[in-house]
Symmetry: C2
């Protein structure tokens, strides 16, 4: 409520001096500083950040733009972004839940003048020109971009690699008849994981089109639904690779209910390594995705850009995705033996 002028008058100094005090400028004597601080406290004064940033062209705020995500990936990502930002005393202006397209443009325009840079997740094709427009005003860091954008740095999760590692592992275990539960269409992570799945089969001399591929949306229920198809299938696939852990969990639960044992009767793999994955029964073999690290890196990259005086070359950083082997997959021979004793 009180402005810098009132404080200045109360302390018997100029507004410039008050401003200096609140910017920790060394160009002010100790006792004037004290006097100013005292008046400020009495008036319950604190600088208005909006006015400040209008004048300095600095907001100390990073804009974050996300699509509508659910579950642990979202919270881990946000935690990474948030922690690193507040560690450096930056604030976060968040705009998620947008559906892409003109939405994104409007939202980023509303951020204009209120952010120093923008971190953005998964622009679909339509969002790309929005990105390029935003990029003319503030630096942009892309998360898991579908394709590189001129002048934007990016941080990515090695979805494709992770999926390839899963399939290689399964092939080593002797599996040849794999099923895949896909993620939502249009989702980059989902598509990259699917691509990894298919190309690994191809490389191994198997026909990806022969593999059973079920639709999914990254939610538990999709795994449940997939289970009925899988159980009905003859011959039954020896392993199911779910494009994320949530679906793997739904799947495992449904298989268990149907009396189908994991991994004795069928193997299951997930993707993400959510906190609960290790506590399932059996503990889930999956791919570790460091969503928190993804966010952290994005913020670091942004801060580097903001600190840098000149524009640096486009940087692309990849967060590795390592296989996390637990107990939900068995070798196919063990599985066959299990089948026999089961159908006995």
């Amino acid at each position: 409520m009180a402005t810098i002028r009132e404080v200045a008058r109360a302390a018997g100094v100029s507004t410039a001096t008050v401003s200096r005090v609140f910017s920790n400028s060394p160009l002010v004597s100790a006792d004037t500083a004290e006097r100013v601080l005292k008046s400020a406290q009495q008036l319950d004064y604190w600088p208005n950040s909006a006015a400040r940033s209008l004048s300095t062209h600095r907001t100390h705020t990073i804009g974050i733009m996300l699509p509508d995500l659910f579950g642990e990936f979202y919270s881990d990502l946000m935690r990474g972004l948030d922690r690193e930002a507040s560690l450096h005393e930056y604030q976060i202006l968040l705009s998620s839940s947008h559906s892409g397209g003109s939405d994104v443009l409007a939202a980023s325009r509303a951020m204009l003048g209120r952010i120093d840079g923008l971190i953005m997740l998964a622009p679909d094709e339509k969002s790309i020109d929005t990105v390029e427009r935003v990029r003319r005003r503030v630096p942009v860091v892309l998360l898991n971009p579908r394709q590189p954008v001129e002048g934007c740095h990016s941080v990515e999760v090695a979805n494709y690699d992770g999926a390839r590692r899963v399939v290689e592992y399964l092939l080593e275990l002797g599996h040849r008849d794999l099923a895949f539960v896909a993620g939502p269409e249009g989702n980059v992570d989902a598509e990259e994981r699917r691509r990894g799945f298919r190309e690994s089969l191809q490389v191994a001399g198997l026909d990806p089109d022969q593999a059973l591929e079920l639709p999914g949306d990254f939610r538990e229920i999709a795994g449940v639904e997939a289970s009925t198809v899988i159980l009905a299938r003859h011959p039954r696939p020896t392993v199911v690779f779910a494009a994320n852990d949530a679906m793997a969990i739904g799947l495992q639960s449904a298989l268990h209910r149907a009396g189908c044992r994991v991994p004795q009767d069928i193997s299951v793999v997930g993707f993400d390594n959510v906190a609960m994955a290790g506590y399932l029964n059996p503990p889930l073999t999956t791919v570790n995705v460091d969503a928190c690290g993804l966010g952290r890196e994005a913020v670091r990259m942004m801060l580097d850009v903001l600190r840098a005086s000149e524009e640096s070359a486009q940087i692309r950083r990849v967060i590795p995705a390592a296989l996390k082997i637990r107990e939900s997959c068995s070798a196919v021979e063990a599985l066959r033996a299990g089948h026999k004793s089961n159908s006995n």
Copy 2:
């Protein structure tokens, strides 16, 4: 980059007119509007929000201040806040991961001038005077406050009620020897749930101090650790009430590993009803906490306050917490029978 002045010059009008066009004022003729819009597009102009809010005293932004939370509660809460905010075209200025105390004061000061109102979670005692200070400048809505604060509305989860319902249900099932895995100290939700647990026992004529109470921190591993104590205990409690689902999950997993069946040998209850709770083995009986609804209500309340011309009476809204009965609890007689046949 281009300012309102440049657009005005290019279009041959005054800045006032440009401003009117971008505020959708009816006081401007169709063809001047068109001319302005064309010039704006050519110059790639868009109003600077910081300058705008300096002048209007409106930011169209809600500040959100959270402690360092983990897991699904956080992501659900954020989703609720975010969705409702963007539904009304409000942005969110987020500052979480703070540890309380002077931190909170600094963070809220940094928001000053950039938010229309502040939604804040779980101020500890120390944060209270910060809240009261912020409250003089912008409206404040409290989430799960430890105690009401003069002039602040609040939205709360019925933690206490939920815990009481759990215990009442367990008593009905015949349980008399209950164990409790607590949440982190200083956490309001944790404390309210614990209070509900203890008072329910008291009301039923049981001594709360006789009940086994184990420490926890809301993470899966705490449930695992609790399991060893519980399994070693003689006589063994017939049911374990974990203060949240994550710990219940760790607990159930560890019990299973130890060869202890749920609910035949021991019953388990959680709190939160996370997405996975229904897919556990056995599906977890828990309390449904609508974190998303909590966030939604908080934003609605804030928007109401912002729309209202006068200050309304202090409103306190409670989000109910309903028991969600699944399969992880059995009647104590069944349990005894199970024990016998087990130790046979």
